[in-house]
Amino acid sequence: MNNNLAIIIPVHVFNDTTKEHMDILIKSIKEQRNNEQKPIVLIVYHKSIDKGGVDELIKYVDEEYKISVMENDGNIDYQSQVMRGVNAIDCDFFTVAEFDDELSVSFTHQMERHTKHYQDVDIFLSTMLEVDIEDKPVKITNETVWSQQFVGENGSMGYLNENLLKEYSDFKLSGAIIKKDSFLEIGGYKSNIKLSFMYEFLLRALNNGLTIYSIPKLMYKHIVGREGSLFDDYQKNMSQGERKFWFETAMKEYVFNKDREVSYIEK
Protein backbone atom coordinates (compact mmCIF):
# COMPACT_ATOMS: atom_id res chain seq x y z
CA MET A 1 0.00 0.00 0.00
CA ASN A 2 1.25 3.45 -0.85
CA ASN A 3 -1.09 5.41 1.34
CA ASN A 4 -2.68 4.91 4.69
CA LEU A 5 -5.80 6.99 4.21
CA ALA A 6 -7.97 8.08 1.32
CA ILE A 7 -10.71 10.67 1.59
CA ILE A 8 -13.49 10.02 -0.87
CA ILE A 9 -15.80 12.91 -1.69
CA PRO A 10 -18.88 11.84 -3.66
CA VAL A 11 -20.50 14.63 -5.69
CA HIS A 12 -23.75 14.05 -7.57
CA VAL A 13 -24.55 17.66 -8.43
CA PHE A 14 -22.45 20.78 -8.91
CA ASN A 15 -23.65 24.33 -8.38
CA ASP A 16 -22.69 27.45 -6.41
CA THR A 17 -23.75 25.82 -3.13
CA THR A 18 -21.64 22.79 -3.89
CA LYS A 19 -18.65 25.00 -4.61
CA GLU A 20 -19.15 27.10 -1.50
CA HIS A 21 -19.21 24.01 0.74
CA MET A 22 -16.56 22.14 -1.20
CA ASP A 23 -14.13 25.04 -0.70
CA ILE A 24 -14.60 24.72 3.06
CA LEU A 25 -14.12 20.93 3.03
CA ILE A 26 -10.97 21.08 0.88
CA LYS A 27 -9.56 23.85 3.07
CA SER A 28 -10.17 21.71 6.17
CA ILE A 29 -8.30 18.82 4.49
CA LYS A 30 -5.37 21.06 3.56
CA GLU A 31 -5.16 22.52 7.05
CA GLN A 32 -4.73 19.28 8.93
CA ARG A 33 -2.50 19.64 11.97
CA ASN A 34 -0.65 16.51 10.99
CA ASN A 35 0.34 17.51 7.50
CA GLU A 36 3.36 15.32 6.92
CA GLN A 37 1.48 12.17 5.99
CA LYS A 38 -1.08 13.64 3.64
CA PRO A 39 -4.09 11.49 2.79
CA ILE A 40 -5.05 11.03 -0.82
CA VAL A 41 -8.25 12.84 -1.76
CA LEU A 42 -10.50 11.50 -4.46
CA ILE A 43 -13.47 13.51 -5.69
CA VAL A 44 -15.91 11.13 -7.39
CA TYR A 45 -18.41 13.01 -9.53
CA HIS A 46 -21.38 11.60 -11.32
CA LYS A 47 -21.41 11.61 -15.12
CA SER A 48 -24.62 13.67 -15.07
CA ILE A 49 -22.71 16.77 -13.95
CA ASP A 50 -22.28 19.16 -16.86
CA LYS A 51 -18.93 20.20 -18.36
CA GLY A 52 -18.89 23.51 -16.50
CA GLY A 53 -19.28 21.70 -13.21
CA VAL A 54 -16.61 19.16 -14.07
CA ASP A 55 -14.21 21.98 -15.03
CA GLU A 56 -14.82 23.57 -11.64
CA LEU A 57 -14.17 20.25 -9.89
CA ILE A 58 -10.95 19.78 -11.85
CA LYS A 59 -9.72 23.06 -10.36
CA TYR A 60 -9.46 21.26 -7.01
CA VAL A 61 -6.85 18.87 -8.39
CA ASP A 62 -3.65 19.49 -6.45
CA GLU A 63 -0.52 17.39 -6.66
CA GLU A 64 0.91 18.62 -3.36
CA TYR A 65 -2.23 17.68 -1.49
CA LYS A 66 -2.77 14.52 -3.55
CA ILE A 67 -6.21 15.67 -4.72
CA SER A 68 -7.61 14.08 -7.86
CA VAL A 69 -11.03 13.68 -9.50
CA MET A 70 -12.69 10.75 -11.21
CA GLU A 71 -15.97 10.18 -12.98
CA ASN A 72 -18.57 7.65 -11.91
CA ASP A 73 -20.53 6.46 -14.89
CA GLY A 74 -22.70 4.16 -12.78
CA ASN A 75 -25.71 4.96 -10.62
CA ILE A 76 -26.14 8.40 -9.10
CA ASP A 77 -26.90 7.22 -5.56
CA TYR A 78 -24.46 7.90 -2.75
CA GLN A 79 -23.55 4.23 -2.30
CA SER A 80 -22.54 3.74 -5.95
CA GLN A 81 -20.39 6.87 -5.87
CA VAL A 82 -18.62 5.61 -2.76
CA MET A 83 -18.14 2.09 -4.15
CA ARG A 84 -16.61 3.55 -7.31
CA GLY A 85 -14.13 5.50 -5.20
CA VAL A 86 -13.27 2.64 -2.85
CA ASN A 87 -12.54 0.30 -5.75
CA ALA A 88 -10.22 2.88 -7.27
CA ILE A 89 -8.02 3.67 -4.27
CA ASP A 90 -4.86 1.95 -3.07
CA CYS A 91 -5.07 2.51 0.69
CA ASP A 92 -5.41 0.69 4.01
CA PHE A 93 -8.18 2.96 5.19
CA PHE A 94 -10.68 5.31 3.61
CA THR A 95 -13.21 7.79 4.82
CA VAL A 96 -16.15 9.33 3.03
CA ALA A 97 -16.56 13.06 3.45
CA GLU A 98 -19.76 14.61 2.18
CA PHE A 99 -18.93 17.72 0.20
CA ASP A 100 -20.91 19.96 2.54
CA ASP A 101 -19.14 18.68 5.65
CA GLU A 102 -15.87 19.61 7.30
CA LEU A 103 -12.99 17.78 8.97
CA SER A 104 -11.53 18.98 12.26
CA VAL A 105 -7.87 19.97 12.14
CA SER A 106 -6.89 16.86 14.06
CA PHE A 107 -8.73 14.37 11.85
CA THR A 108 -5.69 12.70 10.33
CA HIS A 109 -3.73 12.99 13.59
CA GLN A 110 -6.45 11.11 15.47
CA MET A 111 -6.77 8.64 12.64
CA GLU A 112 -3.06 7.82 12.96
CA ARG A 113 -3.17 7.52 16.73
CA HIS A 114 -6.20 5.28 16.76
CA THR A 115 -5.25 3.00 13.89
CA LYS A 116 -1.87 2.51 15.58
CA HIS A 117 -3.30 1.58 18.98
CA TYR A 118 -6.48 -0.21 17.95
CA GLN A 119 -5.26 -2.50 15.23
CA ASP A 120 -8.12 -4.94 15.70
CA VAL A 121 -10.69 -2.29 14.80
CA ASP A 122 -12.16 -2.38 11.28
CA ILE A 123 -14.33 0.72 11.44
CA PHE A 124 -13.62 3.84 13.45
CA LEU A 125 -16.68 6.03 13.69
CA SER A 126 -15.95 9.73 14.13
CA THR A 127 -17.78 11.47 16.90
CA MET A 128 -19.70 13.92 14.80
CA LEU A 129 -20.92 17.40 15.52
CA GLU A 130 -24.14 17.97 13.63
CA VAL A 131 -24.91 21.61 12.86
CA ASP A 132 -27.75 23.38 11.11
CA ILE A 133 -27.29 25.42 7.97
CA GLU A 134 -26.34 28.43 10.11
CA ASP A 135 -23.56 26.42 11.75
CA LYS A 136 -25.35 26.18 15.09
CA PRO A 137 -24.74 22.89 16.93
CA VAL A 138 -27.73 20.56 16.83
CA LYS A 139 -26.38 17.36 18.35
CA ILE A 140 -23.44 15.05 18.80
CA THR A 141 -23.63 11.71 16.98
CA ASN A 142 -21.85 8.34 17.36
CA GLU A 143 -21.22 9.15 21.01
CA THR A 144 -23.69 6.66 22.49
CA VAL A 145 -21.13 3.86 22.61
CA TRP A 146 -19.44 5.81 25.39
CA SER A 147 -22.45 5.62 27.65
CA GLN A 148 -22.17 2.75 30.12
CA GLN A 149 -25.95 2.67 30.28
CA PHE A 150 -26.27 2.09 26.52
CA VAL A 151 -23.33 -0.24 26.11
CA GLY A 152 -24.68 -2.46 28.87
CA GLU A 153 -22.96 -4.59 31.43
CA ASN A 154 -21.50 -6.99 28.92
CA GLY A 155 -20.50 -4.44 26.32
CA SER A 156 -17.22 -2.63 26.11
CA MET A 157 -17.26 1.13 26.26
CA GLY A 158 -16.32 2.77 22.98
CA TYR A 159 -17.29 -0.29 20.93
CA LEU A 160 -20.53 -0.69 19.04
CA ASN A 161 -22.32 -3.93 19.82
CA GLU A 162 -25.32 -5.59 18.20
CA ASN A 163 -27.66 -5.14 21.16
CA LEU A 164 -26.99 -1.44 21.24
CA LEU A 165 -27.35 -1.05 17.48
CA LYS A 166 -30.68 -2.85 17.44
CA GLU A 167 -32.00 -0.54 20.13
CA TYR A 168 -30.52 2.66 18.80
CA SER A 169 -29.97 3.17 15.09
CA ASP A 170 -28.70 6.75 14.88
CA PHE A 171 -25.10 6.07 13.89
CA LYS A 172 -23.50 7.75 10.89
CA LEU A 173 -20.69 6.54 8.70
CA SER A 174 -19.70 9.85 7.15
CA GLY A 175 -16.24 10.65 8.43
CA ALA A 176 -15.78 7.06 9.61
CA ILE A 177 -12.33 5.60 9.00
CA ILE A 178 -12.86 2.19 7.45
CA LYS A 179 -10.46 -0.63 6.62
CA LYS A 180 -10.82 -0.97 2.88
CA ASP A 181 -10.31 -4.74 2.78
CA SER A 182 -12.85 -5.40 5.53
CA PHE A 183 -15.34 -3.11 3.83
CA LEU A 184 -15.07 -4.85 0.49
CA GLU A 185 -14.95 -8.31 2.02
CA ILE A 186 -18.46 -7.94 3.42
CA GLY A 187 -19.80 -6.36 0.23
CA GLY A 188 -19.48 -2.62 0.90
CA TYR A 189 -22.50 -0.32 0.67
CA LYS A 190 -25.61 -1.69 -1.00
CA SER A 191 -27.03 0.56 -3.66
CA ASN A 192 -30.32 -1.38 -3.71
CA ILE A 193 -31.09 -0.13 -0.22
CA LYS A 194 -32.17 3.42 -0.83
CA LEU A 195 -32.41 4.63 2.74
CA SER A 196 -30.95 3.21 6.00
CA PHE A 197 -28.08 1.75 3.98
CA MET A 198 -25.57 2.91 6.60
CA TYR A 199 -27.58 1.20 9.31
CA GLU A 200 -27.77 -1.98 7.23
CA PHE A 201 -24.03 -1.82 6.67
CA LEU A 202 -23.31 -1.48 10.40
CA LEU A 203 -25.60 -4.40 11.24
CA ARG A 204 -23.91 -6.45 8.54
CA ALA A 205 -20.45 -5.48 9.71
CA LEU A 206 -21.18 -6.66 13.25
CA ASN A 207 -22.85 -9.78 11.91
CA ASN A 208 -19.63 -10.54 10.03
CA GLY A 209 -17.56 -10.06 13.17
CA LEU A 210 -16.05 -6.70 12.28
CA THR A 211 -15.03 -4.46 15.18
CA ILE A 212 -16.47 -0.96 15.34
CA TYR A 213 -15.11 1.69 17.66
CA SER A 214 -16.08 5.32 18.01
CA ILE A 215 -13.20 7.79 18.29
CA PRO A 216 -14.17 10.13 21.12
CA LYS A 217 -13.09 13.31 19.37
CA LEU A 218 -15.22 15.76 17.43
CA MET A 219 -13.46 15.03 14.17
CA TYR A 220 -16.22 15.70 11.72
CA LYS A 221 -18.82 18.43 11.27
CA HIS A 222 -21.95 17.49 9.42
CA ILE A 223 -24.66 19.84 8.19
CA VAL A 224 -28.16 18.50 8.75
CA GLY A 225 -31.17 19.49 6.68
CA ARG A 226 -29.33 21.35 3.92
CA GLU A 227 -31.76 22.29 1.19
CA GLY A 228 -31.07 20.20 -1.92
CA SER A 229 -29.06 17.46 -0.25
CA LEU A 230 -29.85 13.87 -1.17
CA PHE A 231 -31.10 13.12 2.33
CA ASP A 232 -33.13 16.33 2.45
CA ASP A 233 -34.75 15.16 -0.75
CA TYR A 234 -35.57 11.79 0.83
CA GLN A 235 -36.96 13.49 3.89
CA LYS A 236 -39.24 15.68 1.82
CA ASN A 237 -40.34 13.31 -0.88
CA MET A 238 -40.31 9.91 0.75
CA SER A 239 -43.50 8.74 2.42
CA GLN A 240 -43.51 7.59 6.01
CA GLY A 241 -44.39 4.12 4.76
CA GLU A 242 -41.42 3.97 2.44
CA ARG A 243 -39.03 5.15 5.10
CA LYS A 244 -40.35 2.48 7.44
CA PHE A 245 -39.95 -0.05 4.64
CA TRP A 246 -36.28 0.78 4.11
CA PHE A 247 -35.59 0.59 7.80
CA GLU A 248 -37.22 -2.84 8.03
CA THR A 249 -35.38 -3.91 4.90
CA ALA A 250 -32.09 -3.01 6.53
CA MET A 251 -33.05 -5.16 9.51
CA LYS A 252 -33.65 -8.12 7.19
CA GLU A 253 -31.00 -7.69 4.53
CA TYR A 254 -27.99 -7.33 6.80
CA VAL A 255 -27.59 -11.09 7.00
CA PHE A 256 -26.74 -11.12 3.27
CA ASN A 257 -23.42 -9.75 2.11
CA LYS A 258 -24.71 -9.54 -1.45
CA ASP A 259 -26.61 -6.45 -2.62
CA ARG A 260 -29.88 -8.22 -3.42
CA GLU A 261 -32.63 -6.74 -5.52
CA VAL A 262 -35.10 -4.87 -3.30
CA SER A 263 -37.80 -2.46 -4.36
CA TYR A 264 -40.53 -0.58 -2.67
CA ILE A 265 -44.05 -0.60 -4.05
CA GLU A 266 -46.42 2.01 -2.66
CA LYS A 267 -49.64 0.36 -1.56
Partner: protein
Protein backbone atom coordinates in the same frame (compact mmCIF):
# COMPACT_ATOMS: atom_id res chain seq x y z
CA UNK B 1 28.41 3.56 112.05
CA UNK B 2 24.98 4.64 113.14
CA UNK B 3 21.90 2.88 111.86
CA UNK B 4 20.95 6.04 109.94
CA UNK B 5 24.30 6.28 108.19
CA UNK B 6 24.17 2.59 107.35
CA UNK B 7 20.77 3.05 105.63
CA UNK B 8 22.01 6.10 103.68
CA UNK B 9 25.04 4.13 102.57
CA UNK B 10 22.82 1.23 101.48
CA UNK B 11 20.59 3.52 99.42
CA UNK B 12 23.64 5.11 97.79
CA UNK B 13 25.00 1.66 97.03
CA UNK B 14 21.68 0.66 95.47
CA UNK B 15 21.54 3.82 93.35
CA UNK B 16 25.10 3.24 92.26
CA UNK B 17 24.31 -0.37 91.41
CA UNK B 18 21.17 0.64 89.56
CA UNK B 19 23.07 3.32 87.62
CA UNK B 20 25.73 0.84 86.70
CA UNK B 21 23.02 -1.53 85.45
CA UNK B 22 21.41 1.29 83.48
CA UNK B 23 24.72 2.31 81.98
CA UNK B 24 25.41 -1.28 81.04
CA UNK B 25 22.00 -1.57 79.42
CA UNK B 26 22.42 1.67 77.51
CA UNK B 27 25.94 0.74 76.50
CA UNK B 28 24.74 -2.59 75.20
CA UNK B 29 21.86 -0.86 73.36
CA UNK B 30 24.28 1.68 71.93
CA UNK B 31 26.51 -1.07 70.73
CA UNK B 32 23.57 -2.75 69.02
CA UNK B 33 22.54 0.57 67.51
CA UNK B 34 26.04 1.22 66.18
CA UNK B 35 26.29 -2.28 64.81
CA UNK B 36 23.01 -1.86 62.94
CA UNK B 37 21.23 -4.39 65.15
CA UNK B 38 18.21 -2.19 65.85
CA UNK B 39 14.77 -3.48 65.08
CA UNK B 40 12.18 -1.36 63.32
CA UNK B 41 8.53 -2.06 64.02
CA UNK B 42 5.87 -0.52 61.79
CA UNK B 43 2.31 -0.58 63.12
CA UNK B 44 -0.22 -1.42 60.41
CA UNK B 45 -3.87 -0.42 60.90
CA UNK B 46 -6.35 -3.23 60.25
CA UNK B 47 -7.86 -2.05 56.98
CA UNK B 48 -7.95 -3.33 53.44
CA UNK B 49 -9.33 -0.04 52.17
CA UNK B 50 -6.79 1.44 49.79
CA UNK B 51 -5.17 4.48 51.30
CA UNK B 52 -2.00 6.39 50.74
CA UNK B 53 -1.37 6.13 54.45
CA UNK B 54 -1.28 2.35 54.49
CA UNK B 55 0.84 2.27 51.35
CA UNK B 56 3.36 4.67 52.86
CA UNK B 57 3.77 2.53 55.99
CA UNK B 58 4.81 -0.39 53.80
CA UNK B 59 7.03 1.86 51.71
CA UNK B 60 8.82 3.08 54.85
CA UNK B 61 9.30 -0.48 56.08
CA UNK B 62 10.86 -1.47 52.78
CA UNK B 63 13.19 1.52 52.80
CA UNK B 64 14.36 0.67 56.32
CA UNK B 65 14.68 -3.00 55.45
CA UNK B 66 16.78 -1.90 52.49
CA UNK B 67 19.11 -0.14 54.94
CA UNK B 68 19.79 -3.57 56.43
CA UNK B 69 17.70 -3.35 59.61
CA UNK B 70 15.50 -6.08 61.02
CA UNK B 71 12.03 -4.87 60.16
CA UNK B 72 8.59 -6.06 61.20
CA UNK B 73 5.02 -5.09 60.36
CA UNK B 74 3.01 -5.05 63.59
CA UNK B 75 -0.60 -6.04 62.97
CA UNK B 76 -3.47 -5.41 65.34
CA UNK B 77 -4.57 -9.04 65.43
CA UNK B 78 -3.28 -12.37 64.25
CA UNK B 79 -6.13 -12.62 61.74
CA UNK B 80 -5.34 -9.24 60.12
CA UNK B 81 -4.88 -9.65 56.40
CA UNK B 82 -2.05 -8.18 54.40
CA UNK B 83 -3.61 -5.39 52.29
CA UNK B 84 -4.15 -6.75 48.80
CA UNK B 85 -4.23 -3.42 47.03
CA UNK B 86 -0.51 -2.97 47.66
CA UNK B 87 1.83 -4.78 45.30
CA UNK B 88 3.30 -7.97 46.71
CA UNK B 89 6.87 -6.77 46.25
CA UNK B 90 6.23 -4.37 49.12
CA UNK B 91 4.29 -6.65 51.43
CA UNK B 92 5.92 -10.04 51.04
CA UNK B 93 9.44 -9.31 52.15
CA UNK B 94 8.60 -7.96 55.61
CA UNK B 95 7.39 -10.39 58.30
CA UNK B 96 4.02 -9.61 59.89
CA UNK B 97 3.66 -10.10 63.61
CA UNK B 98 0.58 -9.57 65.73
CA UNK B 99 0.88 -6.96 68.49
CA UNK B 100 -1.31 -9.21 70.64
CA UNK B 101 1.06 -12.13 70.58
CA UNK B 102 4.36 -10.54 69.84
CA UNK B 103 7.30 -12.01 71.74
CA UNK B 104 9.93 -9.79 70.21
CA UNK B 105 12.24 -8.30 72.81
CA UNK B 106 12.35 -4.55 72.46
CA UNK B 107 15.22 -2.45 73.71
CA UNK B 108 16.24 1.19 73.67
CA UNK B 109 18.04 0.66 70.37
CA UNK B 110 14.80 -0.26 68.61
CA UNK B 111 12.28 1.96 66.82
CA UNK B 112 8.54 1.82 66.46
CA UNK B 113 6.72 3.82 63.77
CA UNK B 114 3.09 4.57 64.56
CA UNK B 115 0.69 6.42 62.27
CA UNK B 116 -2.02 8.87 63.24
CA UNK B 117 -4.57 6.06 62.92
CA UNK B 118 -2.97 4.31 65.87
CA UNK B 119 -3.12 6.86 68.65
CA UNK B 120 -4.32 4.05 70.92
CA UNK B 121 -1.10 2.18 70.16
CA UNK B 122 0.86 5.30 71.07
CA UNK B 123 -0.82 5.23 74.45
CA UNK B 124 -0.44 1.49 74.98
CA UNK B 125 3.23 1.46 74.10
CA UNK B 126 4.34 4.46 76.11
CA UNK B 127 6.29 2.33 78.60
CA UNK B 128 8.30 0.50 75.96
CA UNK B 129 12.01 1.37 76.00
CA UNK B 130 12.22 1.83 72.24
CA UNK B 131 12.11 5.10 70.30
CA UNK B 132 8.60 5.71 69.03
CA UNK B 133 7.99 7.90 66.01
CA UNK B 134 4.69 9.31 64.79
CA UNK B 135 3.99 9.12 61.07
CA UNK B 136 1.72 12.00 60.13
CA UNK B 137 -0.06 12.20 56.81
CA UNK B 138 -3.44 13.53 57.84
CA UNK B 139 -3.78 16.43 60.20
CA UNK B 140 -7.47 15.69 60.43
CA UNK B 141 -7.02 12.08 61.55
CA UNK B 142 -4.37 13.14 64.03
CA UNK B 143 -6.75 15.57 65.71
CA UNK B 144 -9.73 13.24 65.52
CA UNK B 145 -8.04 10.58 67.51
CA UNK B 146 -7.00 12.62 70.54
CA UNK B 147 -9.04 14.33 73.24
CA UNK B 148 -8.86 18.13 73.53
CA UNK B 149 -5.69 19.13 75.31
CA UNK B 150 -4.02 15.80 74.54
CA UNK B 151 -1.35 15.37 71.89
CA UNK B 152 1.19 12.80 70.80
CA UNK B 153 3.70 14.10 73.29
CA UNK B 154 1.23 13.11 76.01
CA UNK B 155 2.06 9.55 74.99
CA UNK B 156 5.77 10.20 74.85
CA UNK B 157 5.98 10.57 71.08
CA UNK B 158 8.25 13.48 70.32
CA UNK B 159 9.51 12.60 66.86
CA UNK B 160 7.30 13.04 63.82
CA UNK B 161 7.83 12.14 60.19
CA UNK B 162 5.48 13.95 57.86
CA UNK B 163 4.90 14.29 54.15
CA UNK B 164 5.19 18.00 53.52
CA UNK B 165 6.58 21.27 54.72
CA UNK B 166 2.97 22.47 54.93
CA UNK B 167 2.16 19.87 57.57
CA UNK B 168 5.40 20.59 59.37
CA UNK B 169 4.53 24.28 59.49
CA UNK B 170 1.06 23.50 60.79
CA UNK B 171 2.51 21.44 63.63
CA UNK B 172 4.84 24.31 64.46
CA UNK B 173 2.02 26.84 64.20
CA UNK B 174 -0.29 25.03 66.59
CA UNK B 175 2.09 23.25 68.97
CA UNK B 176 5.05 25.62 68.90
CA UNK B 177 8.55 25.44 67.51
CA UNK B 178 10.58 22.59 68.95
CA UNK B 179 7.55 20.88 70.49
CA UNK B 180 8.06 17.98 68.10
CA UNK B 181 11.22 16.94 66.33
CA UNK B 182 9.80 16.99 62.79
CA UNK B 183 11.27 15.45 59.66
CA UNK B 184 9.71 15.74 56.22
CA UNK B 185 10.01 13.79 53.01
CA UNK B 186 8.17 13.64 49.70
CA UNK B 187 5.99 10.65 49.04
CA UNK B 188 6.70 8.78 45.81
CA UNK B 189 4.14 7.92 43.18
CA UNK B 190 4.96 4.44 41.86
CA UNK B 191 6.20 4.20 38.31
CA UNK B 192 3.28 2.09 37.21
CA UNK B 193 1.39 5.38 37.25
CA UNK B 194 2.73 6.12 33.79
CA UNK B 195 1.50 8.11 30.87
CA UNK B 196 0.40 6.14 27.88
CA UNK B 197 0.56 7.04 24.24
CA UNK B 198 -2.80 5.32 23.77
CA UNK B 199 -5.65 7.79 23.24
CA UNK B 200 -7.60 8.45 26.40
CA UNK B 201 -11.33 7.95 26.81
CA UNK B 202 -14.11 10.44 27.56
CA UNK B 203 -14.47 8.96 31.04
CA UNK B 204 -13.94 10.89 34.25
CA UNK B 205 -12.53 9.24 37.36
CA UNK B 206 -14.32 10.51 40.42
CA UNK B 207 -12.73 10.23 43.84
CA UNK B 208 -13.97 11.85 47.00
CA UNK B 209 -14.65 11.37 50.65
CA UNK B 210 -18.30 12.41 50.70
CA UNK B 211 -20.64 10.51 48.37
CA UNK B 212 -23.32 13.21 48.61
CA UNK B 213 -20.92 15.78 47.25
CA UNK B 214 -19.86 13.48 44.43
CA UNK B 215 -23.46 12.73 43.42
CA UNK B 216 -24.23 16.43 43.52
CA UNK B 217 -21.45 17.18 41.05
CA UNK B 218 -22.61 14.46 38.64
CA UNK B 219 -26.21 15.69 38.74
CA UNK B 220 -25.26 19.33 38.26
CA UNK B 221 -22.97 18.41 35.38
CA UNK B 222 -25.71 16.51 33.52
CA UNK B 223 -28.18 19.32 34.20
CA UNK B 224 -25.86 21.95 32.81
CA UNK B 225 -24.70 19.82 29.87
CA UNK B 226 -27.54 17.50 28.76
CA UNK B 227 -25.72 16.92 25.46
CA UNK B 228 -22.93 15.29 27.45
CA UNK B 229 -25.22 12.82 29.20
CA UNK B 230 -23.30 9.98 27.56
CA UNK B 231 -20.14 10.79 29.48
CA UNK B 232 -19.42 8.32 32.26
CA UNK B 233 -18.09 9.05 35.74
CA UNK B 234 -15.90 6.22 36.96
CA UNK B 235 -15.88 5.50 40.72
CA UNK B 236 -12.68 3.50 40.18
CA UNK B 237 -13.98 0.21 41.54
CA UNK B 238 -13.78 -3.30 40.13
CA UNK B 239 -16.49 -4.25 37.65
CA UNK B 240 -17.38 -7.32 39.73
CA UNK B 241 -20.54 -7.51 41.74
CA UNK B 242 -20.44 -6.19 44.39
CA UNK B 243 -17.79 -3.72 43.23
CA UNK B 244 -14.57 -3.77 45.20
CA UNK B 245 -11.75 -1.29 45.55
CA UNK B 246 -9.07 -1.73 42.90
CA UNK B 247 -5.56 -2.92 43.60
CA UNK B 248 -3.23 0.04 43.23
CA UNK B 249 -1.66 -1.25 40.01
CA UNK B 250 -5.11 -1.83 38.49
CA UNK B 251 -6.14 1.58 39.73
CA UNK B 252 -3.18 3.10 37.87
CA UNK B 253 -4.04 1.20 34.69
CA UNK B 254 -7.64 2.36 34.81
CA UNK B 255 -6.72 5.93 35.68
CA UNK B 256 -4.44 6.42 32.70
CA UNK B 257 -7.25 5.46 30.31
CA UNK B 258 -9.53 8.24 31.58
CA UNK B 259 -8.93 11.77 30.36
CA UNK B 260 -9.74 13.53 33.64
CA UNK B 261 -10.06 12.89 37.35
CA UNK B 262 -12.30 14.82 39.70
CA UNK B 263 -11.23 15.01 43.32
CA UNK B 264 -13.30 16.31 46.21
CA UNK B 265 -11.65 15.90 49.59
CA UNK B 266 -11.88 18.90 51.86
CA UNK B 267 -9.94 17.38 54.76
CA UNK B 268 -7.03 15.96 52.83
CA UNK B 269 -3.63 17.01 54.12
CA UNK B 270 -1.72 16.10 50.98
CA UNK B 271 -3.72 14.58 48.12
CA UNK B 272 -2.11 11.64 46.41
CA UNK B 273 -4.85 11.25 43.80
CA UNK B 274 -4.16 14.52 41.93
CA UNK B 275 -0.47 13.59 41.77
CA UNK B 276 -1.35 10.13 40.47
CA UNK B 277 -3.48 11.83 37.83
CA UNK B 278 -0.65 14.14 36.84
CA UNK B 279 1.77 11.26 36.47
CA UNK B 280 -0.61 9.30 34.22
CA UNK B 281 -1.52 12.34 32.09
CA UNK B 282 -5.07 12.43 33.45
CA UNK B 283 -6.15 15.98 34.13
CA UNK B 284 -7.02 16.58 37.78
CA UNK B 285 -10.07 18.79 38.31
CA UNK B 286 -10.16 19.44 42.01
CA UNK B 287 -11.75 21.21 44.90
CA UNK B 288 -8.86 22.69 46.84
CA UNK B 289 -8.81 21.16 50.31
CA UNK B 290 -8.46 23.31 53.44
CA UNK B 291 -4.76 22.49 53.45
CA UNK B 292 -3.37 23.45 50.04
CA UNK B 293 -1.40 20.53 48.59
CA UNK B 294 2.31 21.45 48.52
CA UNK B 295 2.69 20.55 44.86
CA UNK B 296 0.23 23.13 43.56
CA UNK B 297 1.65 26.27 45.07
CA UNK B 298 4.84 28.21 45.48
CA UNK B 299 4.67 30.66 48.37
CA UNK B 300 1.19 32.12 48.07
CA UNK B 301 0.88 31.63 44.32
CA UNK B 302 -1.03 28.70 42.80
CA UNK B 303 1.17 27.21 40.07
CA UNK B 304 0.12 26.86 36.46
CA UNK B 305 -0.23 23.54 34.66
CA UNK B 306 -0.87 21.42 37.72
CA UNK B 307 -4.46 20.62 36.80
CA UNK B 308 -7.53 22.73 37.51
CA UNK B 309 -8.32 23.79 41.05
CA UNK B 310 -11.12 25.74 42.66
CA UNK B 311 -12.16 26.74 46.13
CA UNK B 312 -15.86 26.57 45.23
CA UNK B 313 -17.38 23.13 44.75
CA UNK B 314 -20.08 24.63 42.51
CA UNK B 315 -17.40 25.57 39.97
CA UNK B 316 -16.62 21.92 39.34
CA UNK B 317 -19.45 21.04 36.89
CA UNK B 318 -18.44 23.89 34.58
CA UNK B 319 -14.76 23.07 34.91
CA UNK B 320 -15.53 19.49 33.89
CA UNK B 321 -17.65 20.76 30.96
CA UNK B 322 -14.87 23.08 29.76
CA UNK B 323 -12.27 20.38 30.01
CA UNK B 324 -14.47 17.85 28.24
CA UNK B 325 -15.09 20.28 25.39
CA UNK B 326 -11.35 20.79 25.04
CA UNK B 327 -10.81 17.03 25.11
CA UNK B 328 -13.40 16.42 22.39
CA UNK B 329 -11.97 19.23 20.29
CA UNK B 330 -8.47 17.81 20.84
CA UNK B 331 -7.55 21.16 22.21
CA UNK B 332 -5.85 20.51 25.54
CA UNK B 333 -2.52 22.35 25.53
CA UNK B 334 0.66 20.27 25.62
CA UNK B 335 2.02 22.67 28.26
CA UNK B 336 -0.55 21.30 30.70
CA UNK B 337 0.61 17.71 30.26
CA UNK B 338 4.27 18.74 30.34
CA UNK B 339 3.74 20.85 33.46
CA UNK B 340 1.94 18.04 35.24
CA UNK B 341 4.66 15.55 34.42
CA UNK B 342 7.43 17.91 35.51
CA UNK B 343 5.72 18.43 38.85
CA UNK B 344 5.63 14.70 39.51
CA UNK B 345 9.41 14.52 39.16
CA UNK B 346 9.58 15.82 42.74
CA UNK B 347 7.57 12.79 43.82
CA UNK B 348 9.32 9.80 42.31
CA UNK B 349 9.80 6.60 44.35
CA UNK B 350 13.57 7.06 43.98
CA UNK B 351 13.48 10.57 45.42
CA UNK B 352 11.14 9.46 48.16
CA UNK B 353 13.40 6.54 49.05
CA UNK B 354 16.44 8.80 49.11
CA UNK B 355 14.72 11.29 51.41
CA UNK B 356 13.42 8.55 53.69
CA UNK B 357 16.89 7.00 53.90
CA UNK B 358 18.14 10.34 55.16
CA UNK B 359 15.25 10.65 57.62
CA UNK B 360 15.91 7.25 59.18
CA UNK B 361 19.70 7.62 59.18
CA UNK B 362 19.24 10.92 60.99
CA UNK B 363 16.88 9.37 63.52
CA UNK B 364 19.45 6.66 64.23
CA UNK B 365 22.18 9.28 64.65
CA UNK B 366 20.00 11.28 67.00
CA UNK B 367 19.26 8.17 69.02
CA UNK B 368 22.98 7.39 69.15
CA UNK B 369 23.81 10.89 70.41
CA UNK B 370 21.00 10.67 72.94
CA UNK B 371 22.38 7.43 74.38
CA UNK B 372 25.93 8.73 74.47
CA UNK B 373 24.71 11.78 76.37
CA UNK B 374 22.82 9.57 78.81
CA UNK B 375 25.91 7.46 79.48
CA UNK B 376 27.95 10.61 80.11
CA UNK B 377 25.30 11.87 82.52
CA UNK B 378 25.29 8.63 84.51
CA UNK B 379 29.05 8.37 84.55
CA UNK B 380 29.35 11.85 86.08
Amino acid sequence: MSKENKETQDVQEQIKKSNVEKIEKIKSALENLKEGKSKFLFCVPDSDQPSALLYEIYFHANVVSGLGYETYMMTETEEQKVPEFIEKELTEKIPHISMQKSNISIGPEDFMVISELHTNVMEQTKKLPCKRIGLLQSFDYMLNSVLPGVNWKSFGVTDVITTSETLKNMLIKYYGKGFYNIKTYNIGIPDYFERTDKPQKPIISLIGRNSNEMNKIIKLFYSKYPHFNWVTFDPMLTRKKPPQRLRRKDFANRLKENFAGVWIDRISSFGTFPLECMKTGTIPICLKPDITPPYIHKDEEILENVGYWTINIYDLPEMIGDMLTKFLDDNIPDELYDGMYEKTLDYTPEKSKEMLNQVYVELIKERTSFMEEKIKEFEK
